[in-house]
């Protein structure tokens, strides 16, 4: 419900929200009110009090992170910037490649037809330049495709379980490198005081913890996980809902599960 004017009660809620003092359920409900009800009165009040709360941070002695943080961040950013289609799923790479090849061929045909017309020479030059760009992009896509079709890469697909049927995950398992590249989508953030925990599930013996994590606000997560050398014969990969910080063995329900074969 959109509020037309600020009352004492509304102001108190805005203050508690801005200070971070609402309980989890009240916080979520109020955040929903701000986003979905488009309540300008409450939003304006929250903005003012958020600035007041953030002055607590400004009052602290300033701290400096190490240089390695920036290096790591910029390396990630530059790697992503270099990709032609940054958010595209890898499974689409073959189709993307076909698309680029078709586009490149079309451009080449255009080049041949138009080159006979001297008045269009400048356009031909532009198109040639685009062909070079497309060839470069095809090279990148080929490289991605090669990594996906490599016999050393195994793919494990995980499906949502129980209360999270829409969650999905894919693991690219580089066995010689003992590495998992995990990408998760559609998994809501863990509840307050809870965490998600990923498990290696061997054919014999107990599950082995792989990583305790939480998803981003959009339900996604992406991570690299080192696979212990002793983990070689896996039956499945799984994610469970656990108390914050995780547990030595699974105690909560499955949220994602996938067989390795």
């Amino acid at each position: 419900m959109k509020h037309l004017q600020m009352t004492e009660d509304l102001q108190e809620t805005a203050i508690l929200y801005a200070a971070g003092a609402l309980g989890e359920t009240e916080r979520r409900e109020y955040a929903r009110h701000l986003d979905e009800d488009n309540c300008d009165a409450c939003r304006a009040e929250v903005l003012e009090f958020e600035a007041a709360a953030q002055s607590l941070a400004v009052s602290l002695p300033m701290q400096t992170p190490s240089e390695s943080v920036k290096k790591r961040l910029m390396a990630q950013a530059e790697a992503l910037s270099a990709m032609p289609l940054p958010r595209q799923e890898r499974k689409g790479s073959f189709f993307a490649l076909a698309g680029w090849l078709t586009a490149a061929a079309s451009v080449l045909v255009l080049v041949i037809v138009l080159s006979s017309n001297t008045t269009l020479r400048s356009q031909v030059d532009d198109l040639k330049s685009r062909v070079v760009d497309l060839e470069n992009q095809i090279g990148t896509q080929k490289s991605l495709l090669a990594s996906l079709t490599s016999p050393d890469i195994r793919i494990i697909n995980l499906a949502g379980q129980g209360a999270t049927p829409k969650a999905r995950a894919r693991i690219l398992w580089d066995e010689p490198a003992h590495n998992w590249h995990v990408r998760i989508t559609g998994l809501p953030q863990a509840a307050s005081a809870r965490s998600y925990q990923m498990w290696f599930v061997p054919k014999t013996g107990n599950p082995v913890s792989a990583r305790v994590f939480n998803t981003n606000p959009d339900g996604s997560a992406e991570m690299e996980i080192a696979v212990p050398a002793e983990v070689t014969t896996l039956m499945a990969a799984a994610v469970t809902d656990e108390p914050a910080g995780g547990r030595p063995q699974p105690t909560g329900g499955f949220v994602l599960l996938g067989n390795t074969e």
Partner: protein, 173 residues
Amino acid sequence: MASRDASALEAFYDQYNRIAFTLVFRIVKVREDAEDVLTDVFWQVWQQAGRYDTSRGKPLAWLLTIARTRAIDRLRSGGRRGDEIELDAQLVPESAERQQDPFVLAGIKRAVSKCMDALPEAQRKALEMAYFEGMSQTEIADALKQPLGTMKDRIRTGMMHLRKCLKPYEAPL
């Protein structure tokens, strides 16, 4: 930055990494964890820059909101036990740090300190437990063995004081 320009991310990071790190470090209390969170924070900002809505606050306020949320998440998910580790804030020679602190240079820090100093200890404590420790009003009331109504009042009065006190200054946030 909305067009995923890495140089824009670099400029944004250079401008705001220290204030964001100061907040994150105060919350998670462990430098290594704080640096991990800081990387995630700027990565999230870069990924979501296209969705940034100027009507919902200045970029710094948006950044600090994300930084606090991420840091509280890390605090709740465990990791190293920050409360058992001494914050090394005191080890940093503040006088040297102050030379490059943009908030000091802008005179804002002095204004904020003045407002914070005027805050009664009980109100400041309640605000810090909420903002830096991620505790709800109920949890704070339990921890301090005070009625919930008293705690609500302390937080409300403290926040009203800060808002009123900071009003005359050019808001950095």
